[in-house]
């Protein structure tokens, strides 16, 4: 059964090729069937493999399917091979599962778009690239998926290419992620030079033997890989591209910029966790990056007026939590939060998509208002998603995953109080801005008229995701609520090495409960604050906004804390300026200057040829004089 593994990525690829070459001929329904169908079947196979994994796990809890040798240069022999273990299985499940739902949703959402087949072709290509990334046996193949995903996000962000702003956003996304990829590539070169292979398992085992903990090489590699992860997952300092990426259609934002691609960085660090355990400084760096990003993104989300940008910043913030978890060594907690986040964030995006679809592409929450009554289903599913994001205790999956992270941040060996504090503050901000969005968008009097209500094809995915984002949390309960740690046990084999170090230091249930209570209080407090400020007494905000200082602060937050302006002044403008100034290529001017000198000398010499006989005779006489003097006197 397991050797059906290669079908999972092959199907979306086949879908892409069919749509690319025969897209127009298939007609809308044909395209929908091929597009959504291929991902659906992959999801089924993934489910089957999950079932076989649970019932009769292969020995050593991993299964490698080698297809062919890719390169053979000296000692370096990477193969095109797919590697399945709990970590990659979870990722595959999420990618194909959520992916299928989003494909289904976009059948309805994109129905009246003329480039229908191109959309599904790119979406299928994206799923293929993401699966390759997740199932890659060695980092070189992972890099293929990594760049493929980057390309697809470029294609899909710039899907409506007629609007120059979209093209700019797509270009920005690709270039910023490419900066991160270059750092990662450097990490690969270091690995190939030092350890001679990029095959993940050999890599980790050789690293463990050759490098003692805290060695410079481990630190350098870890930081370089972190560079790549930061680029792709939109963390500090390379997070500026994610908010602009909302220029793409909403299903794209849901699939790529919420559920799957942006978590590729988390997967990379999780996959190469041994290197990070060997370099504690690097883990600390990961944690700090996570903490800072979640705070910055949280602040920025407050000032956004576009519903999708609020969700984008919240995505950055939630991935910040995952980085925080990875930083403190809570590998399975990070992956657990990844899974739950994929569910509720996809749900939020799709629901927002329905709202936008209904209000004829109106994305500004201040122009929405009062959708509660007009779109009851969308409102309810949006509310479930929002509560899961805000981590409403006990009933939402978000609560369990975020709580696990906060607990680990506090108690684990690499954890630190400040990290926990940042996480807690983040929780407060998250619930506040989430419910700000809910109150402004769904409550109050309706401003724009609802055109046409989304069909069942768009509602079913919303329901499915709503179910998942509530039930999803129950498979991993905190210790004191019974020992249901299915997820952690399932993930254990992937992090075999780490199991030895992070022994579960039981600080007793008391501490755990205490921390949970604090987290709950912050969450609910956030919701209350949002209620007061944005629904009950909105005039407080108007009054505050009068003062110049606040308005400037609001603009600063709106621009994502000024990172865009910073990078423009530091990198983009100088680069463009040099390009504009040097269009004529200085070196070329140098050569033309030489030619000009030649022409000048030609002109000067020309003057000596006057055409008069006596002048020529004078020339001979002068020549004779010089010759005589040289010959006689030397």
């Amino acid at each position: 059964m397991l050797d059906l593994l290669w079908l999972i990525p092959a199907l979306p690829l086949a879908g892409f090729l069919v749509l690319l070459f025969a897209g127009e001929k298939l007609g809308k329904s044909g395209v929908a069937w091929v597009g959504a169908g291929s991902v659906g079947i992959s999801a089924l196979i993934a489910g089957l493999l999950k079932w076989t994994f649970l019932t009769s796990p292969p020995e050593g809890h991993h299964f490698t399917q080698a297809l062919w040798t890719w390169l053979d240069v000296g000692a370096f022999k990477p193969e095109i091979a797919l590697y399945l273990d709990p970590l990659s299985l979870v990722m595959t499940l999420v990618v194909t599962g959520v992916g299928f739902l989003i494909h289904l949703y976009s059948v309805g959402y994109m129905h009246d778009d003329e480039d229908y087949s191109r959309f599904f072709a790119c979406m299928n290509l994206f799923v293929f690239a993401m699966l390759i990334l997740v199932l890659a046996d060695n980092l070189l193949l992972l890099y293929v998926g990594w760049e493929g995903v980057g390309l697809c996000s470029y294609l899909l962000i710039g899907f409506w290419y007629k609007d120059p702003a979209n093209c700019k956003a797509a270009q920005k996304a690709f270039i910023v992620t490419r900066v991160g990829d270059t750092a990662m590539a450097l990490g690969f070169f270091l690995l190939v030079t030092q350890l001679g292979t990029l095959q993940v398992q050999d890599l980790l085992e050789r690293a463990a033997t050759r490098w003692e903990p805290g060695s410079g090489m481990a630190l350098a590699t870890a930081l370089l890989l972190l560079g790549g992860a930061v680029g792709k997952s939109g963390q500090l300092p390379l997070q500026t591209w994610l908010p602009d990426a909302m220029a793409g259609p909403t299903p794209v934002s849901a699939l790529i910029h919420a559920a799957t691609m942006v978590t590729a960085g988390v997967y990379l660090i999780a996959r190469t966790y041994v290197i990070y355990t060997l370099a504690p400084a690097a883990m600390a760096a990961v944690a700090v990056v996570g903490a800072l990003t979640l705070l910055i993104a949280g602040l920025a989300a407050f000032a956004q007026s576009d519903i999708k940008r609020v969700l984008a910043y919240s995505t950055i913030s939630q991935i910040g939590y995952m980085f925080l978890a990875l930083g403190v060594g809570a590998w399975s907690a990070a992956m657990f939060h990844f899974m739950t986040h994929a569910f509720f964030k996809a749900l939020l995006f799709l629901a927002a998509g329905s709202v936008i679809y209904a209000l004829h592409h109106e994305q500004n929450i201040f122009k929405m208002g009062g959708i509660r009554k007009q779109l009851p289903l969308t409102y309810r599913t949006f509310l479930i998603g929002a509560s899961s994001l805000a981590a409403i205790p006990f009933i939402t999956s978000g609560f369990y995953s975020k709580d696990a992270i906060l607990y680990q941040a506090f108690t684990s060996e690499h954890g630190h109080f400040l990290l926990w504090l940042a996480g807690a503050l983040g929780a407060l901000m998250t619930s506040a801005y989430t419910f700000r969005m809910v109150f402004i968008a769904f409550f109050g009097e309706p401003k724009t008229h609802v055109h046409h209500k989304p069909g069942w094809v768009m509602n079913f995915p919303l329901l499915a995701l709503a179910f998942l984002s509530t039930v999803g949390g129950f498979i991993e309960l905190p210790h004191f609520m019974g020992h249901a740690q299915f997820f952690a046990d399932f993930m254990a084999p992937s992090f075999a090495h780490a199991a030895g170090h992070a022994a579960e230091a039981h600080h007793g249930a008391g501490l755990e409960i205490g921390l949970m209570v604090v987290a709950m209080a912050l969450g609910l407090g956030g919701i209350a604050a949002a209620y007061v400020l944005f629904l009950a007494k909105p005039e407080i905000i108007e009054e505050k906004m009068k003062s110049e200082g606040n308005r400037k602060l609001h603009a600063f937050l709106f621009s994502g804390l000024g990172f865009d302006k910073l990078y423009d002044t530091l990198f983009v403008n100088p680069y463009c300026w040099i390009a504009r100034v040097n269009k004529r290529d200085i070196v070329d001017l140098g050569y033309s200057f030489l030619a000009a000198v030649g022409m000048l000398v030609h002109f000067l010499l020309g003057l000596t040829v006057t055409g008069r006989v006596r002048w020529y005779a004078a020339g001979i006489a002068a020549g004779c004089l010089i010759l005589m003097s040289v010959m006689v006197f030397t």
């Binding site: 270059t182 590539a185 030079t193 680069y575």
Partner: protein, 501 residues
């Protein structure tokens, strides 16, 4: 004897096409196509004999050899030889030759006979360069391929073709003469050492000479090949030559003529002067890195499509220079891959831009924009080759650049990091290429005919080539392995093989 036929067929084909062309235009196209196809068949037949099944008997250094005396008085002989590296180059040359003829099917109408005469003589000259094993013969072919290229650019080029053609000719010719001086110096040093006057490559290989002398002689070779490569300070001729050349000219110029520079470095500069090359490595690598970054910046600043693609070639060739002077197996394998993949991707991009020029009669990106709407097939092809040129994994260029950077990482880490920035630069100019031509609103309301069958076949050939090299490059790596290993052994001390520690 096959090697001589390999060069003779295009020569004769050219002459025949030239005569027939004046009377019947379409006939001469078919003649040149047939000539090249015949040549390609011959080459493939011969090479597959030796490289069949992708194993190679590494017993003989040269698969095929031909020797005849030419000027015995001066020790000059017609000595042709074929090994792994040159067989790949021969195949690339013939492949791009056929594509070139295909691409110029509708573009060249007036004086087609003379066009195909020149075109086939360029191919013959380049084949001669790749096969020559006698330094005089190498220089002979090195200069021969210039004259028809000059006529190609000068007669069928675009607006200021005279300037570009003369500039191309003088740059290459002057540096060629420097190389002639180095060849003569090498020959006379060899004669002083061993008393025999000969220009034969294998005999000149082991000449002993003082390091200072070796450096000066090596410099002559280096300058000639880096002008042709083109590397940083000597590159200004390329953008002009490319912008003004007709499509077939650009394809051949980018696809093969640039590779003669890299081939020269691999075949002559490094093996003939290993120590001098080793001591010169830092300078060469710096030039390579500057070339990558500077050309990427310049590519981004261009508004003329062809100049943009020309500068991208300079940037890619910067990688080649960096790879050659890292002297380890990774980098050298990467260099050979880059030579082939860049030949394909740059050739394809030039063909596309040529086809575009045929339709909208401008290369200025300012006047384009939004072509995807009227010509989606064009857009997809443009996107594919833009991705190839920025080194998207899964295509040949990525394998090449990855191997080069891994190799150069072992030689010098700072150079590699800066070169890696070149990858970001590559992304910037590739996306600029796409946004300039295909994306954005269609302000000028272009309605152009999409790619026709002939062009699609050519593009398919390129796509298959690049994907095959990206997914299964092993045959190429096996073919070149003996040459690369011998090169690495020659310059052994440099690598200090961190890998093996």
């Amino acid at each position: 004897m096959i090697l001589v036929w390999l060069i003779l067929i295009p020569l004769v084909g050219g002459v025949v096409a030239g005569f027939v062309g004046s009377r019947n235009v379409s006939a001469c196209r078919w003649i040149s196509l047939v000539a090249l196809a015949l040549d390609a068949a011959l080459a493939i037949g011969m090479i597959s004999q030796h490289l069949g099944g992708f194993q190679y008997e590494s017993s003989k250094v040269w698969f095929e050899e031909f020797r005849a005396s030419w000027i015995p008085v001066l020790g000059i002989s017609v000595h042709l030889g074929l090994d792994g590296l040159s067989s790949l180059m021969v195949l690339l040359t013939l492949f791009l030759g056929i594509i070139g003829v295909g691409a110029s099917w509708s573009e060249i109408q007036e004086r087609a006979g003379f066009f195909h005469f020149n075109f086939l003589w360029i191919i013959a000259g380049v084949l001669g360069v790749f096969l020559a094993l006698d330094l005089f013969l190498f220089f002979f072919f090195w200069e021969i391929m210039l004259v028809p290229m000059y006529f190609l650019i000068g007669i069928w080029g675009h607006e200021n073709r005279q300037y570009a053609a003369v500039k191309f000719f003088i740059f290459t010719q002057a540096s060629g003469l420097l190389m002639l001086l180095s060849i003569l110096a090498l020959v006379f040093v060899h004669r002083a050492g061993t008393g025999t006057l000969t220009f034969d490559y294998s005999e000149l290989l082991g000449t002993q000479m003082l390091p200072a002398v070796a450096t000066w002689i090596m410099l002559g070779f280096f300058i000639a090949f880096t002008v042709k490569l083109p590397a940083f300070p000597f590159h200004p001729w390329l953008p002009d030559a490319h912008t003004e050349a007709p499509t077939a000219g650009s394809i051949v110029l980018a696809g093969i003529l640039l590779k003669t520079g890299a081939y020269g470095l691999l075949r002559f500069t490094v093996p003939l002067f290993p120590e001098a090359a080793r001591s010169f490595a830092p300078v060469a690598m710096t030039l390579g890195v500057i070339g990558i970054i500077y050309a990427a910046l310049m590519a981004f600043s261009q508004s003329d499509l062809k100049r943009l693609v020309a500068y991208t070639s300079v940037s890619h060739m910067g990688f080649v220079l960096l790879g050659i002077y890292s002297f380890n197996e990774f980098a050298l394998q990467g260099v050979v891959m880059q030579m082939i993949c860049h030949g394909l991707s740059a050739g394809a991009q030039f063909m596309l831009v040529g086809a575009l020029y045929e339709r909208i009669h401008t290369r200025d990106m300012g006047k384009m924009g939004g072509l995807w709407t009227t010509a989606p097939a064009f857009g997809v092809a443009g996107m594919f080759f833009a991705m190839a040129s920025l080194g998207l994994p899964g295509l040949g260029n990525f394998i090449a650049e990855f191997l080069i950077l891994v190799g150069s990482f072992q030689a010098s880490v700072p150079a590699t990091t800066i070169a890696a920035l070149g990858l970001v630069g590559a992304t910037v100019y590739s996306l600029w290429f796409m946004r300039g031509a295909f994306f954005g609103p269609n302000e000028r309301g272009w309605t152009i005919v999409d790619l026709n069958a002939r062009e699609l076949v050519l593009i398919a050939a390129f796509v298959i080539g690049l994907v095959w090299l990206g997914v299964y490059p092993q045959p190429v790596l096996n073919a070149v392995a003996p040459v690369v290993q011998s090169l690495e052994k020659m310059t052994q001390p440099v690598t200090a093989a961190l890998l093996r520690s």
